[in-house]
Amino acid sequence: MARFGADWTPTILILDADGQERHRIEGFLPNDDFLAQLHLGLAHAAFTAGKFEQAAERFEKIVRDLPGTDAAPEAQYWAGVAKYKATGNAEALKATADAFKQHYTDSTWAKKASIWS
C-alpha cells in the first residue's frame, strides 16, 4: 500500500497502461457514486492516452446515466475539453459553458468553464 501512497482503505487507484495514476477513490461511496468515479477514472486514463473521442464518450456517459453523482459536474467539464481536444473546435468549450448554465450551476466545474462563455 505504501508503494502506491494508499494510506487508508478503501482506496481504489486507476492507473494508465504505463502505470501512472490517473484517478484515486478514497473512502466508501454509495453504489452510483462509486460507479461514476470508476467511469471518471477510465475516462481520465483515456484522455491522457490521447483517446479524446473515447474519453468524451465516457465522460458524457456519466452525465447521462449518473447525473446526480458528485462526479457528474467534473464529467461535464471534461467531456467538453475532450471534445475540443478531439476536434480542435472551440465551440465544444462554449457549449460546455452553456450546459453549466442549466446544470450544476453552483459547482466548481461551472466556475472553471465560465471562462468559455
Partner: protein
C-alpha cells in the same frame, strides 16, 4: 462477468503495459 484479479502488482502492471489497458488497484481489504 468475472474480474481477472491479480495478487501481484508488478505482474498486473506488466500486463497493463503489454495490453495497453488501464489498471485498477484495489486496497479495499488491505491490512492497515
Amino acid at each position: 462477468m468475472t474480474i481477472p484479479w491479480r495478487d501481484d502488482a508488478d505482474r498486473a502492471l506488466a500486463e497493463a503495459k503489454e495490453s495497453r489497458k488501464p489498471l485498477l488497484l484495489d486496497f479495499t481489504a488491505a491490512p492497515m
